[in-house]
Homo-oligomer: 391 residues x 2
């Protein structure tokens, strides 16, 4: 019996598990410390009323034999897939069919699983710094990773790769840098993929945070993206579903490689290894697209963005070099005095009892940077910034 | 860009997707037909009151910032893992630690994902007939499959493999045959794994249906299983969570191969590719282990087993050769008149408007057999049998 030795090429722990352990150890050593977490990007606002109402109604249905629902359809319920198409694509002039939508238990799972339909020998391109899941899950499968440097100089948008790559992961608005991509630049990537036969995995988890109308919410706003890209969406950051778990992947029918439909391959994967998101959670997702849901969710996003603007402004006024936070819930700051990212992590934890995420945890180019999230409560965010001021 | 061509070695569709399509086509051609589904093994009873109460309470918590829960802990909430250990293992004298429990969105996902921590070059042994997920997910990863014939002659329990195999999937009470394994025979498998270094993946999804006290509910009732086996559990069939999605894997800390802890590998996989089962669903799972929950769930299982006994008795009285249905919710019948499994499927659908599952869909040795489930309502089950009688 042989283990998958690719796992031994990974760091032993997932980044956020490491941070959780470090904070827990600090907490035990300093039981009096009141720690503020602006680290892992978890939301803090409760589910909005339209979502709660939908959950309550669906739970009631599950209590009665006549309205009880067992296994969900493979790809998700029609009511949700139709609401997604209408709310996220038709409204933006993107031609997406409900059969191209695959409902899942969250964008993290889709990010991790999507690589399974590709051969082991593809060259994977990911940004550096990057959300660890893209790279880690490809390392687990034994693939070679090419890192595309994202720096202040290129606005945290990588140049088109010079060497040949097969699969490119892009996430805009970006985690962790808070950077955004213009439609023109994204179109360059789409054109590159169509020209070379590469496939783009576009993680749109943070699209709800876009304020600037010129920035694309979906890669399908670009011409020809239907033959170039898979797009991943989350309900976690717009509607606060981190603890409810819901997301979806878009795999266009026109996305064909080596004569094979990637939509069909993903359908086979989805049907074989997954049994659908809970009915009650799918109803909660549907409620996000109702008029009341849209209004409530937009209010939550607005509140978080007020935090982002506040953090950005205050850090700048303290002399920090600050990026992001304008069309994304993440603030990416340059550590002062040439501290390493982990040194700054310890410094903030020790001196201010504030937890952030070390940039180096996201890749080499993240060294010397640090991520703060706007997902805290207004009170905690203000308190955290005050404490940093007081150091 | 290369696709994963292992997918091309699969049948195009997942078995149950094929059946759904066939039934849907029949329904459209015969809109007047009232079809009874005893096919896919989905439950029909609503969630029991203690589970509904737990869901309602948890939904309320999610509506308030003070009690809102975001991302769940990697392995699941302590409250659920403790309840599992106490309810499913301590009560049976099995020494399992909460850190060996990994909560998931269902046994199907775990069945499909567990192979990822093993090398591509392992030889996989699965029963024939078998739940398609074990084989399909290994074929997707490019592994070689050895089939272990399960026949009426060996009581649907395979002989210990003669050739060397590395990973053995066993499911008892069995899907699809309804067969069971004795503790002595299961001990032989555990001893084989400990002697050869193989690993057993033990799918215990149907353990709640065991009536005979001598039959093991968990492989950890066998001596030395902690160094030999991973066990998978579901909340779908005992508590009707098919539409709620909850399961768990047990990966013992003593399960070491090539000097590496499989518990650690699975922890890394779980943390990297999965973000936890919904809080509200984990609370629902906890309620299954409450006194009221146990009573309600036991009543549901009892009702389904009344269906199983009824189907078994009636089919026998009609002259059918029938297996299973005594400690399992599945009835496995020999098709009459040498019909193939799919011929019998069409025959039952056409003549009685009853849907079952063709045995050949589960493997070559399933040819000439047919699976009926006990998960219908009492009324539908009686009506289905009456219709079969009337053909």
């Amino acid at each position: 019996m042989k283990i998958n030795t690719n796992y031994l090429d990974l760091t032993e722990n997932y980044l956020f598990s490491d941070i959780a352990k470090k904070v827990s150890a600090y907490s035990q050593a300093h039981p009096e410390a009141s720690i503020i977490r602006l680290g892992i990007g978890d939301v803090t606002k409760p589910l909005c009323t339209p979502v709660i109402d939908a959950l309550n109604k669906a739970v009631k249905e599950m209590s009665d034999a006549d309205s009880f629902r067992g296994y969900a359809p493979d790809k998700g319920y029609d009511f949700l897939r139709s609401a997604i198409v209408k709310g996220d694509f038709e409204s933006r002039g993107c031609d997406i069919d409900p059969d191209e939508i695959f409902v899942s238990d969250g964008a993290k799972s889709d990010c991790g699983n999507i690589q399974e339909i590709f051969d082991k020998d593809n060259v994977i391109a990911v940004c550096d710094p990057v959300y660890p899941v893209y790279a880690d899950t490809n390392i687990m499968a034994g693939r070679k990773i090419t890192y595309l440097p994202c720096t202040a100089e290129n606005g945290f948008v990588p140049d088109i790769p010079k060497e040949k790559v097969d699969i490119i992961y892009l996430c805009y608005p970006n985690n962790p840098t808070g950077g955004v991509i213009t439609k023109a630049k994204l179109q360059e990537y789409v054109d590159y993929a169509n020209k070379t036969g590469a496939v783009i995995i576009y993680d749109a988890a943070y699209e709800a945070y876009i304020k600037d109308d010129s920035i694309p919410h979906s890669i399908y706003e670009c011409e020809g993206a239907g033959t170039a890209a898979i797009e991943l969406h989350s309900f976690s950051k717009n509607a606060g579903f981190t603890g409810l778990r819901l997301g979806y992947a878009v795999v266009p029918k026109d996305l064909i490689r080596e004569g094979t439909s990637l939509n069909k391959l993903w359908a086979r994967r989805h049907a074989t290894k997954y049994n659908g998101a809970p009915y009650i959670v799918q109803r909660a997702g549907e409620a996000v697209y109702s008029a009341a849901g849209k209004e409530a969710v937009s209010k939550q996003v607005g509140d978080y963005m007020d935090n982002a603007a506040f953090i950005r402004r205050e850090l700048k006024s303290m002399g920090y070099e600050v990026y992001g936070g304008e069309n994304a819930p993440y603030i990416w700051l340059k550590t002062p005095d040439n501290m390493t990212s982990w040194e700054f992590f310890d410094y903030l934890l020790d001196e201010a009892n504030v937890v952030g995420t070390p940039g180096s945890g996201f890749g080499k180019c993240g060294e010397g940077f640090f991520r703060l999230t706007a997902f805290g409560s207004e009170e905690a965010t203000r308190e955290a910034i005050q404490r940093i001021k007081n150091i």
